[in-house]
């Protein structure tokens, strides 16, 4: 079996597994997996930039929030589907502008500039509190969470919608790494100067990576607001820029399945340890330290290094 075929079987199998899980999962875990799929889509977006292009952003919450607010602020006027599209486009446009400016820097400066842009975005949400309700955020009424005839507040529909988003993001990510464009991104990650010397327009490709990454992140934000009925400024805060970095590092940067594994692992690590002790963040911290020490490439990265070397 070729590596491509193995990859398609594995990733297709994961999607089939996620589809089947909804019929057997208890109610609580059913809801958890739906939410994890949305957040994993956000992490997939982050992984395109960090895992495959080697650009560490500390400001991705602005793209997630752009999708969430782009959808949330317009859903009452435009209707559900156009508002969803508006959220995604808002994130894409923001990513295009921020990418064009932030990519004038590199390394630590890129991290700081993206962080500053995100902070400016967060403060903008607070400043226009009349419309955004600032830090409190606002509820997206159930009547506006109906796509066609599908009520997205229904648990089964929500799961399907989350799965559809995740499947789309996973396929985009998988397709990306098998295209020449994706291979150039990896070349940039490995040695930017060599890629430039070979004649590639490095800036244009990095900019495109920022736009793709921001668009996927915005789609996750728009879906989160729609599926869970809330848009709030906390999702634009710095911790929501750190989360996808953590999830991707844990799951395996530069692996297609890493974002899902990392998001799922992190959620259950906190959820289960909080049932054992009130110092659950300590347990989470120790687990992260251990993973950093003994699985430096993340969980799926280790799988690739030790078992499935063909893993994209």
């Amino acid at each position: 079996m070729s590596d491509l075929r193995k990859s398609l079987v594995l990733h297709g199998g994961v999607l089939v597994l996620l589809f089947g899980l909804q019929f057997v999962l208890p109610a609580y875990h059913h809801g958890v997996v739906a939410r994890v799929m949305v957040m994993a889509s956000y992490a997939i977006g982050y992984n395109v930039l960090f895992g495959y292009t080697g650009l560490l952003s500390l400001g991705h919450a602005m793209f997630f929030a752009a999708g969430m607010y782009g959808m949330g602020l317009t859903v009452g006027v435009l209707g559900t589907a156009p508002a969803l599209a508006f959220g995604v486009v808002a994130g894409a446009l923001l990513a295009a502008v921020v990418g064009a400016l932030a990519l004038r820097t590199a390394g630590v400066a890129f991290m700081i500039v993206t962080l500053m842009f995100a902070q400016a975005g967060y403060l903008t949400i607070l400043y226009f509190g009349t419309y955004t309700r600032g830090d409190e955020g606002f509820v997206i009424p159930q009547a506006q969470r109906v796509l066609g005839a599908v009520d997205l507040s229904d648990p089964a529909n929500r799961y399907f919608a989350a799965l559809a988003l995740f499947a789309l993001c996973l396929m985009v990510s998988l397709r990306l790494v098998h295209t020449s464009f994706g291979r150039v991104l990896i070349a940039i990650r490995e040695n930017e100067e060599r890629a430039r010397m070979l004649g590639y327009n490095v800036f244009a490709r990095k900019w495109a990576a920022v736009v793709i990454s921001g668009t996927l992140s915005a789609a996750a934000g728009a879906f989160y607001g729609l599926l869970f009925g809330y848009a709030g400024a906390s999702f634009a805060g710095v911790q929501y820029s750190i989360f996808p970095l953590l999830w991707v590092l844990l799951g395996g940067a530069g692996t297609v399945l890493g974002p899902l594994v990392g998001t799922l692992f992190m959620f259950y690590l906190i959820d289960l340890s909080s049932g054992v002790t009130s110092a659950y963040m300590l347990i989470a911290g120790v687990a992260l330290v251990l993973l950093t020490l003994f699985a430096q490439q993340g969980l799926m990265g280790e799988v690739r290094a030790r078992v499935w070397r063909w893993l994209p």
């Binding site: 208890p26 400043y127 509190g129 600032g134 830090d135 809330y230 400024a233 963040m281």
Partner: protein, 428 residues
């Protein structure tokens, strides 16, 4: 000769007899099951801010909740069933808050959710409460419930909201302190609520807000904002929150020196902070809103005395075990009172299990008068079933010799405003 009544056994009759016999034989098992059903504890999911920005409040909300549960259980529980708290940390985060509610409803099998303070966590969680059909009793003081933003499953029967608190301050401020006010507030939703409601309320009192100075939430020094305060300001209204409040007060003192306008603030700024802390000397002689007076007053009621003792708070508003551990006394009574409302609602509804959740909400919606009592130690209240919001007295205290002395208690009427929603028209 006598006629003997005879009957021929039928198959249906035989099955009935066997069924009855089997039921009778297993009666002790039945009884045990029925007993287990009725004596199972009422589970209250407590969404507590143990970590994150709300941790100081969360600690005291937790202590108050545990004290109220101990009292309710000592008095026989609810409908003969003990009350059990299932606490989950929400990290003061709306996403985690929604997850915690799912955990309560789908994993722990809680009867109700309860206890959330920070508005963004309430607003982020409430849609899930409605979808999970989990009665969600918040202790937030936000106007989000009465504004109509939320849903029929979300109620706030144990603490008044910011709109009623703020508007009730205006008559005293206008009549006693001055009519020309400058407001300093944090530039986010909490501050905007104060800005909007107080400005309107002062207008209604014939007063005037001369300037509204919004402070960005990331600000750490405030000196540059003070020159914006108009010179003819008679009252400075402040509602800063967070760790920067100590710097704010210190710099305010340096700016004004001995000649200052009257100063009125919301104790939210200084909840869990000792008024006698170094750097807060400038607050001497200034006024504060208090939801419940932190210091035991000369006319302390037996209700406050019992409540204070049960929670473990001394006459200065600090923990009886650590005088430096200052309580969030102006807000935490809401947990105590809300749990008593849940108890009263469940008893009125004959609550037996999650199937009676709608009946519980209807029973609470039917409540009106809540007299000053051991169950409501902060004061009498009036519940509005349509807006799911309670209304009650507010206190204004003056800092005198490093302690807060109550100088005014508002009427409940001062806190009322027109209904903005009728949740009872929403279906379950």
């Amino acid at each position: 000769m006598t006629d003997r009544m005879t009957s021929t056994p039928t198959r249906r009759g035989a099955i009935k007899t066997l069924g009855a016999g089997a039921a009778a034989a297993s009666l002790p098992l039945w009884a045990r099951y029925a007993q287990a059903q009725t004596s199972a504890p009422v589970k209250v999911g407590f969404q507590v801010h143990s970590t994150g920005i709300g941790a100081a409040y969360g600690r005291w909300y937790d202590r108050t909740t545990q004290a109220a549960v101990a009292k309710i259980n000592a008095e026989g529980g609810i409908n003969g069933r003990m009350l059990e708290i299932v606490a989950e940390d929400d990290g003061t985060d709306p996403k985690r808050g929604a997850e915690v509610l799912e955990k309560f409803a789908n994993q722990h099998g809680c009867d109700v959710g309860f206890g959330t303070l920070f508005s963004h966590v309430v607003i982020g969680s409430a849609p899930r409460a409605g979808e999970l059909k989990l009665p969600y009793f918040v202790v937030s003081e936000g106007h989000h419930v009465a504004s109509g933003m939320l849903n029929r499953y979300t109620l706030q029967p144990g603490i008044t909201d910011v709109k009623s608190q703020v508007q009730a301050m205006a008559p005293y401020v206008a009549k006693t302190l001055g009519k020309k006010v400058t407001m300093i507030f944090p530039d986010f939703a909490f501050g905007h609520d104060h800005r909007d409601y107080f400005t309107a309320a002062m207008d209604a009192q014939g007063g005037e807000v001369l300037a509204q100075i919004a402070i960005p939430p990331t600000e750490t020094s405030f000196t540059k904002y003070f020159p914006k305060i108009p010179r003819d300001t008679e009252v400075l209204y402040h509602v800063m929150v967070g760790p920067a409040v100590l710097t704010f007060v210190k710099e305010l003192g340096e700016f004004f020196g001995p000649s200052r306008p009257e100063i009125f603030g919301f104790i939210d700024s200084l909840e869990a902070v000792d008024i006698a802390s170094p750097g807060l000397e400038f607050l001497e002689g200034t006024y504060f809103w208090e939801g419940n007076p932190r210091y035991a007053q000369a006319d302390q009621t037996e209700y406050d005395k019992a409540y204070r003792a049960a929670v473990g708070v001394d006459d200065n508003g600090a923990s009886v075990s650590d005088p430096k551990d200052i309580s969030t006394y102006a807000h935490m009574f809401g947990c105590w009172e809300t749990l008593h409302v849940i108890k009263a609602g469940m008893e009125a509804a004959g609550y037996a299990g999650p199937g009676d959740r709608a009946a519980l909400i209807e029973a609470v919606e039917a409540m009106t008068e809540m007299p000053h009592s051991f169950e409501h130690p902060q004061g009498a209240k009036v519940f509005n079933g349509k807006t799911h919001q309670v209304f009650g007295h507010q206190y204004i205290s003056r800092v005198e010799a490093g302690r807060l002395n109550v100088v005014h208690k508002t009427s409940i009427k001062d806190t009322l405003y027109s209904d903005e929603v009728d949740y009872t028209t929403q279906s379950f």
